[in-house]
């Protein structure tokens, strides 16, 4: 049979080789197109079949899992009796049922417990965590951390974080500096949430950048996590070589109004990188660091535009009144529109008798475009 098939193929090849070249090329294209279509269809069919099987299993298992959680956690008779959660026991027969030994079901169990934990805290939340531990599901999550696939590692990190299970530094710290941006972000967020004493320790070893989106996520986590130990961020401003970490720490210094960090932030004004300097000036303004005013004015003329704008903004935020004349001269004599706009805003921001008189004077003595700038800046609906 194989011989016949080989003969047939050989004959087909002989006939094919006798065809004109453009027909051969066309046939080759047709063959490739049909083959690609078949492969694509097969892949779609396989994926759909897997989805169908998953949905079927899910529909069968999901109610059982929900019933188990309802009976053992939500309707647990020991809830509300002032018993420590650790002393509340589950029905061992129910949680050790054979069905919950299958990996697919265990993963579903973890996902469902996480869903519940997102909705419930307090005693119920703690009992959900206990169920996760008692069923040995945290071992499944730790096993996932050891795989080579980064997406599974992220899943494990998220599961352990949601369930408030501490992960050893040896395991998680290397992940906070992973080359994979998603894994790195997940590990860093987890570290902040899980580490009670030094949640920002990974800043010390971070060589990979903290991307802007990750900064947003991390900021949200830092500001919403309860009982987080907030360190003095000036330590990283002074010593970190990672630019994104320094930039992020400057934002945190401003957010937590860490006045003790002002000297370290002022040291950054001598840095060669003008983006660093702009961030530092912005931070000084938000800290209302009056002590930095003179230095800011002194370095003003040697700065690029972004830093000059930040200096003008900072003077408006500090608003000590000592630099009003400087702001006035910048407004009157600068040729750059943005600088004039920010100078005007900063003068108005002072909102003192002196500054109000100055604004009136400027309105009278300056040209039409500058008057428009002042009118625009005086509009209370335009936020500064």
């Amino acid at each position: 049979m194989w011989k016949d098939l080989a003969d047939l193929l050989f004959q087909a090849y002989e006939q094919f080789s006798l065809l004109p070249l453009f027909i051969e090329i066309a046939l080759a294209f047709i063959f490739i197109a049909i083959l690609s279509t078949l492969i694509a269809y097969s892949a779609i069919l396989i994926k759909r079949y897997r989805g169908y099987v998953y949905d079927k299993r899910y529909a069968y298992i999901s109610p059982k899992i929900e019933d188990l959680i309802t009976e053992q956690v939500l309707l647990n008779p020991n809830l509300g009796k002032d018993l420590p959660v650790d002393d509340i026991e589950f029905d061992q027969e129910a949680i050790n049922n054979r069905i919950y030994r299958k990996p697919f079901v265990r993963q579903m169990m973890i996902d469902t417990l996480i869903q519940y934990r997102k909705n419930f805290r307090g005693e119920v939340g703690e009992l959900l965590r206990k169920m996760y531990i008692d069923m040995g599901l945290e071992k499944d999550s730790f096993a996932k951390m050891k795989t080579f696939r980064w997406e599974r590692k992220i899943k494990a990190v998220v599961e352990l974080t949601q369930m408030d299970i501490s992960i050893s530094d040896v395991t998680i710290l290397p992940l906070t500096n992973s080359g994979n941006a998603s894994l790195r972000a997940a590990a860093r967020n987890a570290y902040i949430q899980l580490s009670k004493n030094e949640p920002f320790k990974f800043f010390d070893i971070a060589t990979e950048p903290l991307l802007p989106w990750d900064q947003l996520e991390m900021f949200k986590i830092i500001t919403t996590t309860k009982d987080i130990a907030i360190p003095n961020f000036s330590r990283w401003v002074s010593y970190s070589t990672n630019k994104s970490i320094v930039s992020f720490c400057l934002k945190l210094i401003a957010h937590y109004d860490q006045q003790s960090a002002i000297p370290a932030v002022m040291d950054l004004l001598a840095n060669k990188d003008h983006y660093y300097r702009a961030d530092a000036i912005n931070c000084l303004g938000k800290l209302s660091a009056e002590v930095s005013e003179e230095k800011l004015v002194k370095i003003y003329n040697n700065q690029p535009l972004n830093c000059q704008i930040e200096i003008l903004k900072a003077l408006g935020r500090i608003a000590s009144g000592k630099q009003l004349e400087f702001l006035k001269s910048e407004f009157l004599y600068s040729s750059n529109f943005d600088l004039r706009m920010n100078a005007a805003r900063s003068i108005i921001k002072h909102n003192t008798q002196h500054s109000r008189v100055m604004v009136e004077e400027l309105m009278e003595m300056t040209h039409e475009e500058n008057q428009l700038i002042i009118k625009h800046c005086l509009n209370p609906l335009i936020k500064y």
């Binding site: 939500l74 309707l75 869903q115 997102k118 909705n119």
Partner: protein, 133 residues
């Protein structure tokens, strides 16, 4: 036995609240979105409505607003449960007439206590009104 309408689009949360309230002896009716909630509100009388904010068809604020603008349902106690925690939304909910606001994740015990308090307030109010009459 008080009648409570729970409006929540998340199946897990809906079942969980139903079980928790049911365990405490309340008669719990559920709705999965704003539209279904309006139908249920038309059909029956409720002592308390527990509603989520973000839902399809009509959100929780619309439910609150509709209840407060209806003469016959004005006395229904309303508890909003939501993961939205910004000041604007919370104040808007109270401005429209919500009695209480719980931010997710919630504590089951806290929900029960708030419902009990709401029902107790409602009872004492109705007693006062009957006494006045």
């Amino acid at each position: 036995m008080a009648n409570i309408l729970v409006i929540e689009d998340d199946d897990i949360m809906l079942k969980a609240i139903r079980n928790i309230l049911g365990k405490d002896g309340y008669n719990v009716i559920t709705a999965k979105d704003g539209k279904e909630a309006f139908e249920k509100l038309e059909q029956g009388e409720y002592d308390v409505v527990v509603t989520d904010l973000m839902m399809p068809y009509a959100n929780g604020l619309e439910v609150v607003s509709r209840l407060r603008s209806d003469e016959t349902k004005r006395s229904v106690g309303i508890i909003v449960i939501s993961s939205v925690g910004n000041e604007e939304t919370i104040t808007e909910a109270f401005r429209l007439g919500a009695d209480d606001y719980l931010k997710k994740p919630i504590m089951a015990g806290e929900l029960l206590i708030r419902i009990r308090k709401l029902l107790a307030n409602k009872n004492s109010k109705s007693q006062l009104i009957t006494k006045k009459k």
